[in-house]
C-alpha cells in the first residue's frame, strides 16, 4: 500500500495551505496595487544590480558591500512568482505579457533560472574578485533577459 510518511504528508499539506494562502492574498489585493508592488520589487533588484555593477566595473571600491547586495537579491529571488497572480494585469500601466498566464510553466522555469543564478552571484561577491563578480552578474543578466524576452513587452 502507498503510505506517505507523516513528515512528507505534513509538508504537502503545509505547502498546499501556503499556496492557497498566497493565491487568496493575491486575489484579495487590488490588481493595481500588486502591479505597483511588483514594479517596486523589480526596481529594488535593479538598484542592487546597479550597485554591484558599479563595484564590478571599478567605479566604486565598496567590494565589502557587494555580498550584502547579492544576498538581498538572493533572498528575494524566490518572491517573483507570487508577484504575478492571475488577474494582476489590469488597473495600472504595465508590460507584463499575457504569456505569463498562458504559459505559466515556461514563466516558472524562467523565474527559476534567475533564482538558480543567485548562489554563484553571492559566492562571487564574497570572493572579492571583481572579474568574477562581473561574470556572475552577467550570468544573472542572461537570466533576467531569459524571462524579459518572452514575458515582458519590448518598449
Amino acid at each position: 500500500m502507498f503510505v506517505l510518511g507523516r513528515r512528507t504528508a505534513g509538508a504537502v499539506i503545509a505547502g498546499a495551505v501556503m499556496m492557497a494562502g498566497l493565491s487568496v492574498a493575491g486575489a484579495a489585493d487590488e490588481p493595481a496595487n500588486i502591479i505597483k508592488y511588483r514594479q517596486n520589487v523589480m526596481k529594488a533588484n535593479g538598484g542592487h544590480i546597479s550597485a554591484i555593477a558599479a563595484i564590478a566595473k571599478g567605479d566604486v571600491s565598496f567590494m565589502d558591500q557587494a555580498e550584502d547586495h547579492a544576498r538581498a537579491m538572493a533572498a528575494t529571488a524566490g518572491d517573483i512568482l507570487p508577484l504575478f497572480p492571475e488577474g494582476s494585469d489590469t488597473g495600472a500601466d504595465h508590460r507584463s505579457l499575457p504569456a505569463i498566464w498562458t504559459d505559466w510553466a515556461g514563466f516558472e522555469k524562467a523565474a527559476k533560472a534567475y533564482e538558480d543564478a543567485m548562489p554563484a552571484l553571492v559566492e562571487a561577491a564574497a570572493s572579492g574578485d571583481r572579474a568574477a563578480l562581473g561574470g556572475a552578474l552577467r550570468d544573472v543578466g542572461q537570466a533576467c533577459k531569459g524571462c524579459h524576452d518572452d514575458f515582458r513587452e519590448d518598449k
Binding site: M42, G47, S50
Partner: protein, 326 residues
C-alpha cells in the same frame, strides 16, 4: 562562472605573404591591362571580427524559428512593410555561393545585387558603404568559410510604392552617395575607430537615427533616437544630452551595457538591442567597446525626447521613461 572580460580577440597582423599581397597584385596590374582593380586578399579569421562588428547574423538568421545561421527568412517589420532577410550562406543555388568578390563588394558598398537590382536600404549598405576594401574582402572570406544552407528566399511583403523595386533607382540616385570612411585628423585614433564601428560596421544609426518619409536618415538627428524603430519599438537617443540622451553615462556605463546588456539602473535591454549585445557588442574586443564609448561621448548632444520622459529622481535610464513597468 565566467569572467566578464572576454579574451581579447586580436585582429591577426597577417603574415608576410598577406602583407605583400596587395603590392604584388598592384605590380601585376601594372604589367597586365586585363587586371581591373587591386583586390584585397580576404582573410577569414580577420573576417570573423568584421562579421561580429557588422552583426550580419542578427538579421540574416531566423532565430525566432530556429533558422540556420545566415540562411535568412527573418521577418523585419518596418513602417514600409515586412522584409524577409535573404540567405547569405555560401550555398550556390539559394545563397550567395556564386558571388564573385566584386559582386560582394558591389552589394555592400553600392547596394546593388549581382543582376544590377538595387537593394532596399533595410540592408544597411548605406552604412556599410564606408567599409574598407580589406574589411569587405575579409568578411567575404569568413562568410564563405561557413556551412552552405539550401533555403529559398521569401519575397518581401511591402506597402506600395515600396513594393516596386524600381523605385529604389531614383531613391539611390537622390539619397545614396557612397562615401568611404575617412578618419578625422582632428580626433584621436580611438574615437576614429569608434566612429568606424558605430557608423560603418555597427550601423547603429539605422535604428538610432530617425528617418524622413522617404526612409532616409536625418543627418542633423544623428543617433538622436526615434519612436518608429524596426519592429515598432522605441529606440533611445544615444547622443550625450544629459536630459534626453545618455549624457549622464560614463564610458564605463556604455561598455558595461555593450558587454552585459545592463542599463545603468540595473534593468536590461531587450528586443533589437538585446540581439545586438548578444551577437555583436559582447563579442567585440575591450578596445573596440571603449572606442564606441569614446565616440558616442564625443558626439554633439542633441535634445530629443523619445518616448515618455523619465521620472524625476529616477536613476539614469537615459531618455526612456520608467524602465521597470512590468
Amino acid at each position: 562562472m565566467t569572467t566578464w572580460t572576454p579574451a581579447g580577440r586580436k585582429r591577426p597582423a597577417g603574415g608576410p605573404a598577406r602583407r605583400f599581397a596587395a603590392p604584388a597584385v598592384l605590380a601585376l596590374c601594372g604589367l597586365s591591362s586585363a587586371c581591373g582593380s587591386a583586390w584585397a586578399q580576404g582573410d577569414a579569421e580577420a573576417g570573423e571580427a568584421v562579421f561580429i562588428a557588422a552583426n550580419c547574423q542578427s538579421c540574416h538568421t531566423d532565430y525566432a524559428n530556429d533558422g540556420a545561421l545566415l540562411a535568412g527568412g527573418r521577418a523585419l517589420k518596418t513602417p514600409f512593410g515586412t522584409f524577409y532577410s535573404p540567405n547569405i550562406t555560401p550555398d550556390p543555388k539559394t545563397g550567395i555561393g556564386n558571388w564573385s568578390d566584386e559582386d560582394f563588394r558591389r552589394a555592400l558598398i553600392h547596394g546593388r545585387a549581382p543582376d544590377g537590382a538595387r537593394y532596399y536600404p533595410v540592408f544597411p549598405y548605406t552604412s556599410y558603404s564606408g567599409m574598407t576594401d580589406q574589411d569587405v574582402a575579409d568578411l567575404k572570406a569568413y562568410i564563405f568559410s561557413l556551412p552552405p544552407v539550401e533555403k529559398a528566399n521569401r519575397p518581401h511583403d511591402l506597402k506600395w510604392p515600396f513594393s516596386w523595386r524600381w523605385v529604389m533607382a531614383p531613391w539611390q540616385w537622390l539619397f545614396f552617395h557612397p562615401e568611404r570612411f575617412a578618419p578625422d585628423p582632428e580626433r584621436d585614433d580611438l574615437v576614429n575607430r569608434g566612429a568606424y564601428l558605430v557608423d560603418t560596421l555597427g550601423h547603429c544609426g539605422e535604428c538610432h537615427t530617425p528617418r524622413n518619409r522617404f526612409g532616409v536618415l536625418k543627418d542633423d538627428m544623428h543617433l538622436a533616437g526615434q519612436e518608429e524603430g524596426p519592429e515598432g519599438g522605441i529606440v533611445p537617443n544615444i547622443t550625450p544630452d544629459p536630459e534626453t540622451g545618455i549624457g549622464n553615462w560614463s564610458d564605463n556605463d556604455i561598455t558595461w551595457l555593450l558587454i552585459t546588456g545592463f542599463l545603468p539602473d540595473g534593468d536590461n535591454v531587450q528586443g533589437g538591442m538585446g540581439e545586438v549585445v548578444e551577437h555583436s557588442t559582447s563579442r567585440l574586443t575591450d578596445t573596440d567597446r571603449q572606442a564606441i564609448a569614446a565616440y558616442l561621448n564625443s558626439l554633439p548632444p542633441i535634445v530629443h525626447q523619445v518616448g515618455p520622459p523619465r521620472e524625476t529622481g529616477d536613476t539614469d535610464t537615459g531618455g526612456g521613461g520608467d524602465e521597470f513597468d512590468y
